[in-house]
Amino acid sequence: MAKKKRIIYTNRPWEATGICSGCRLCELYCSLQANGTFNPYRSRVRVVEMATGIDIPVTCQQCQDPACQAACEFDAIVFDPKLKIVVVSEENCTSCQACVGACPYGIITMDPVSNKAIKCDLCGDSEPACVEICPSRVLGALDDLAAAEFNRRRAAALLAIDDELLRARPGGEDPVMKKLEKKG
């Protein structure tokens, strides 16, 4: 039995070509796979342009207990036993957008042409189009264990920023710790 997978930003920041280049080929080929046309607004993976030189691909994390599914009152977000993820049933979708509001990643969204909810379905049985096309090879369809390797680094990255900020503060005083100490 195949394991559940999700698309992960498998960056290698120590390589100049190991970071999302911002080419958006993933968006174009995702929409081609889904609809047979090119349209980044219908893509299930979106590249977010943060600043000059910082582009980050974001897509569905295939949550264990999906907020989108919980928010849907019309059984339009259903569990696919074969893929072990939830997928959108276009038939049932009433375009109410409750799932869009519920998603913590802002990644389930409305298709501007069909006006139905869209989310990553890992391209069903075939190799995900975004993974296949990415010239920098920074998108991967990983199972839970492999994804954990990257998620762990993400968590560490957040703490590393924290360390950096604390180090930069003159005197080394940390207002958060101070607050906590006062409470105690």
Partner: protein
């Protein structure tokens, strides 16, 4: 929302800023059929609607935005959008091509071409949000740098993915060296030919666009098959691999190999370049390997200065940024990056500005311009502070000297006089670009014949460097054509072919680095002609042959040539600055001591004219040559103006 049958949106959007009218019309088959898209359609609209009686800054001049026919699809490196107008710099055909996402948004909103005419009473922004097209007040944006304009528009509209084009203060001030910028300072730029000034003259500060419709593709399987073949080539061909590693900075090694820097206003072929080594840029300044939309090559580079007085400065830097810095004698990456930052934020064209500053520097070194004129600025080659300050002043037209320089090299030399004309390095008013042509005669001719003033992207003369003698014999009838310095026969034919070849790229919206540069000629042909045609057929549903594709390039070239003839150009204008003929290249190195041999130059030009079916004596086009391309209307128009050979 538009339907999505093929790669065309099917409409032309026309805006008249004087009356505020907004109209759309069908993109007719008589434009698409023979001209395909992008630069092809834009050049024809300019020819038909902007006769030479209309001056560049007149409201009747047009700004024609035309994304390449394949822009917005997933064809690799189909990222280019053409902007065409009558150029205030050359007074002839003007266009520029940028790699950014805006053109795709325009097509997704439903328009293949955007034609802007007239002049608004006061600053306006054009907003195209799918079916909603309107003009909005831009008083608040006027005066803003390109970067600020972009973020202000995103803030105002609250659309995070909004794609914009805008001008900076340079365009507003009608600096003839200004450009049009996509998404602020660091994305694509429609540069050359001073088109920012035309946008400024129209009081059009920006265009904000979002389009959420589909762009279609007729034959998905053949598109994917061609994509696969394309990737196989770029993974084998060492040329694109170098682009991925270094960005366009890689051309430094080419310039060093041939000793053709053109440093210090095109005086030095070899020059101290060591601190500008691509490897140093890569290890010490590069943020990452970035890319234009849909491009697997990833040669876009943003660099950041980490320490020193310019610490924190970030800018998109292309090879030409470095080359033009060398033209001004700048030898350190910090100076290059800081200068790119100023040009990009104030809205200047790097190439034109760099050459104009170099011209001013040579005048200063020779006492034609003095410290009194520069307001105390020591405008010497290699003085970074002066380099940056004069650039900013040009953008703002601050002071008499900068105001003069803002008119471009040719006009500045005419105003300054006193023998400065011999330091003015331009062709038809367009400043020099790329490498020094001394030691490479066909390169010299290619700068002369370009339809938008001196240009290295208008043709591909470098193919002489990659062709084997037997290939040259097969294609150009002479093995000589593969000999860079000594060869003569076949070079004119090679030039004509390479001009038609890269024109295909601008028509389809394909990047020239990704499609028209390779380490061997077979790869180049496979990508630039065979695959380009297959990509187009797959996306459009048409069935063009490779010959028809090349013929389309030739057709478009002839329209532009006719436009320039109509504006008064003749064979006498198809030349290069006298310096290249008369003064030996300084600094030693592989091309040191050479000049462009005038006899060779003329011989190649003659062969080129013959192959183009132009009259060699006058440079005028012939009826037979034009009718062969189906350009009977152009022939009639030239005849009526007494500009057709034999009429």
């Amino acid at each position: 929302m538009k339907s999505a049958k093929n790669c065309y949106a099917g409409k032309i959007l026309r805006i008249d800023l004087t009356s505020g009218s907004i109209n759309s019309e069908a993109l007719e088959d008589d434009l698409v059929g023979p001209l395909i898209g992008g630069r092809g359609i834009a050049s024809k609209i300019l020819y038909d609607e902007v006769p030479p009686e209309i001056e560049p800054f007149d409201p009747e001049n047009l700004l024609i935005f035309a994304p390449g026919a394949l822009h917005g699809t997933g064809v690799p490196a189909a990222s280019r959008t053409t902007l065409t107008c009558r150029s205030p710099l050359t007074h002839m055909h003007g266009d520029g091509h940028s790699g950014a996402q805006w053109g795709g948004e325009l097509k997704r909103a439903g328009y293949d071409v955007l034609v802007i005419k007239g002049r608004a009473q006061k600053p306006v922004t054009l907003i195209i949000d799918d079916d909603r097209v309107e003009l909005a007040d831009a008083d608040r944006l006027w005066g803003m740098l390109t970067s600020r304009t972009h973020t202000a528009l995103r803030d105002e509209t609250n659309i995070a993915d909004l794609q914009t084009v805008c001008i900076g203060p340079a365009g507003e001030n009608r600096v003839r060296l200004s450009a049009v910028f996509h998404n602020g300072a660091d994305k694509g730029v429609n540069a050359r030919c001073g088109m920012g000034a035309v946008m400024g003259a129209k009081n059009l500060k920006a265009i904000a666009t979002r389009g959420t419709g589909d762009i279609g593709v007729v034959d998905i399987e053949s598109l994917k098959a061609a994509y696969k073949e394309y990737v196989e080539i770029i993974n084998t061909d060492p040329h694109p691999v170098g682009g991925t590693r270094y960005g366009t900075c890689r051309f430094m090694y080419h310039r060093v190999q041939f000793g053709i820097h053109g440093a210090e206003n095109w005086n030095y072929g070899a020059y101290p370049w060591e601190k500008l080594d691509p490897e140093i840029f890569r290890s010490d300044y590069q943020i990452k390997a970035g890319s234009c939309v849909a491009c697997p090559i990833r040669c876009r580079r943003d660099y950041r200065v980490v320490s020193g007085p310019f610490a924190g400065t970030t800018a998109k830097v292309e090879w030409e940024t470095i080359a033009r810095s060398l033209t001004c004698g700048i030898k350190e990456p910090e100076g290059v990056i800081a200068w790119a930052n100023i040009c990009n934020h104030y809205g200047l064209d790097i190439e034109g500005t760099g050459d104009t500053v170099a011209f001013a520097m040579e005048c200063f070194e020779n006492g034609i311009i003095t410290a009194k004129d520069t307001d105390g600025l020591s405008l010497r080659f290699g003085d970074t502070e002066a380099f940056l300050e004069i650039t900013r002043r040009i953008a703002m037209r601050e002071g008499d000297l900068a105001d003069t320089l803002a008119e471009g090299t040719k006009r500045a030399a005419e105003t300054i006089g006193a023998g400065s004309e011999r330091f003015a390095m331009h062709v038809k008013g367009g400043e020099m670009t790329a490498g020094d042509p001394r030691g490479m005669p066909v390169r010299a001719v290619s700068y002369a014949t370009s339809t938008r003033g001196s240009d290295h992207l208008r043709s591909n003369p470098y193919i002489e460097e990659i062709m084997k003698p037997e290939e040259a014999l097969k294609w150009w009838g002479s093995e000589e054509a593969a000999d860079i310095a000594k060869g003569l026969k076949g070079k004119g034919r090679m030039l004509k072919f390479s001009e038609d070849l890269v024109t295909i790229g601008d028509i389809l919206g394909l990047c020239k680095f990704a499609f028209y540069r390779s380490a061997t000629f077979p790869w180049l042909y496979q990508k630039g002609v065979t695959l380009a045609t297959r990509f187009y057929n797959a996306c459009s549903g048409r069935n063009l042959s490779e010959e028809e594709m090349l013929l389309t390039g030739e057709r478009v070239w002839n329209i532009e040539k006719a436009y320039n003839t109509r504006c008064g150009a003749s064979r006498a204008d198809d030349t290069i600055p006298q310096r290249f003929f008369k003064e030996a290249l300084k600094g030693g190195g592989p091309s040191g001591g050479t000049v462009v041999d005038r006899e060779k130059f003329e011989a190649i030009l003659n062969e080129y004219y013959e192959d183009r079916k132009f009259d060699p004596q006058t440079g005028l086009q012939t009826r037979a040559g034009l009718e062969r391309l189906g350009l009977n209307d152009v022939a009639d128009d030239l005849a009526a103006r007494g500009k057709l050979f034999g009429n």
